[in-house]
């Protein structure tokens, strides 16, 4: 059995309701007096729990720690937005973490501008809008790409679909279609060239 952090153990004996009141009081002290000791109590209780939650959800230690840090930074900086009448500290902190994770996944998938967590769950609604919004006319819609894709010759489309949409390797595609690897490569190249031309015409 591994040894836990002492603070973690001392907190685990507290009943949920008492704990909520206690954590709530600490958050008020952080909001009103920037009390670092109170924040440390909140941090020591929630940070390890957030970490395991994030680890389970994202399966990546570095991302999990990033989520803990971002979430707890928000708690420190926006404690004044916590309202104990609206919910418990754990609910508030859970929603902050959920929103940050939602936006982290959005960034990881390199989605430039779509739906951000603030629209869905205005937890920290004093926040201003995302500054790095890009203009929409700079983007080609999936609809357009889908249309261009449909206009590819059948043989090129099959190869591109298998590689880019089903995520197969070029060798797998060659084996499946019983064609040489070189043919798969040249069909892919031709298809991409064709799409490139269509995208240029689209401009």
């Amino acid at each position: 059995m591994l040894v836990g952090i002492p603070l973690e153990q001392s907190n685990s004996t507290i009943k949920p309701k008492e704990c909520a009141t206690e954590m709530s009081d600490y958050l008020v002290a952080v909001a009103e007096a920037r009390c670092k000791r109170s924040f440390a109590r909140v941090f020591n209780y929630f940070a390890p729990r957030l970490r395991s939650y994030a680890l389970k959800q994202m399966g990546n230690e570095a991302l999990a720690m990033e989520l803990v840090q971002d979430t707890m930074s928000n708690v420190w900086q926006k404690a004044h937005l916590f309202n104990s009448e609206k919910g418990s500290p754990s609910t508030w902190i859970f929603t902050i973490a959920r929103n940050i994770r939602f936006d982290m996944l959005r960034k990881l998938q390199n989605r430039k501008e779509d739906v951000c967590s603030d629209d869905l769950w205005p937890v920290l609604c004093e926040q201003t809008a995302d500054a790095n919004e890009t203009s929409l006319d700079e983007q080609v819609t999936l609809e357009q790409i889908g249309f261009m894709f449909e206009s590819l010759p059948a043989k090129q489309k099959a190869v591109v679909e298998a590689i880019y949409i089903d995520g197969k390797s070029q060798q797998e595609v060659a084996d499946e279609l019983s064609i040489p690897l070189g043919t798969v490569k040249s069909r892919t190249r031709l298809a991409l060239q064709r799409l490139k031309v269509m995208l240029n015409d689209n401009d």
Partner: protein
């Protein structure tokens, strides 16, 4: 009266943040209009938060190292300044949110109030264009999530019979319509997939405004997004 709701599973996934952004938008807008689902979401949020707090085991590998990392993190965080703004600024930003006109869209002299979730998309809504018959459409660009549409069916207006590639989510914003399968009222959350064929038609005097999203199957969406990669320099300038 609202009869059609997201499934319990969809609401639960929405709370957890694992629903796709486009569908999350539909579910969130529905919840703005539906007290029943709002309550469900509140309860589910509390329950998931409680799970987060209780399921976390105190088991930490290399607990010494972990304690050091957390200590370091704590010091970094408490070195950050507070975000609390002076009262005057807060008031200003609140009044900005309730700015008149920021929550409605107009068509043909009529004003429609949108659910809160959709307010930010008013700026991203294109012009109304006339489709067949008494149908009007205004596209809402959701970036890489595709295009949603506000569709207005004038009284007696009808969409020709069709089926769907992928799935379609529709939220009734104002009015009512039927589609040969069911009747839908303001606030209803409708899910259609390729298995069904329907013919939406507005029967009331006032016509019907809906917000609609076509959600391609997930592997297809990501596939198309990957197709964009070799050319990203052409349009992400």
């Amino acid at each position: 009266m609202i009869k059609f709701h997201p499934s319990a599973r969809q609401l639960s996934d929405f709370v957890e943040g694992t629903l796709t952004p486009a569908i999350s938008l539909m579910v969130s807008a529905h919840c703005d209009m539906c007290e029943k689902c709002q309550r469900f979401v509140e309860i589910e949020t509390e329950s998931l938060a409680a799970q987060m707090v209780s399921s976390a085991s105190a088991k930490l590998d290399d607990s010494g190292d972990m304690a050091f990392q957390f200590g370091d993190m704590l010091a970094q965080i408490t070195a950050l300044p507070s975000d609390k703004q002076p009262e005057s600024v807060v008031t200003a930003s609140v009044s900005h949110h309730s700015k008149p006109g920021a929550s409605t869209i107009e068509l043909d002299g009529r004003t429609f109030t949108l659910p809160r979730t959709l307010h930010r998309y008013i700026d991203k809504t294109g012009n109304w264009s006339s489709l067949v018959g008494k149908l009007w459409q205004a596209p809402v660009d959701l970036g890489n999530q595709g295009v949603a549409n506000f569709i207005f069916m004038g009284s007696g207006g009808s969409v020709p019979e069709h089926t769907h590639r992928g799935t379609e989510y529709t939220l009734v914003i104002d009015g009512e319509f039927s589609d040969g399968l069911s009747r839908y009222d303001t606030g209803d959350f409708i899910f259609m997939n390729g298995e069904k064929t329907h013919t939406p038609k507005a029967e009331g005097k006032e016509g019907c405004l809906v917000f609609s999203i076509v959600d391609q199957p997930l592997h297809f969406t990501s596939g198309l997004a990957r197709l964009l990669n070799p050319f990203s320099h052409l349009f992400f300038r």
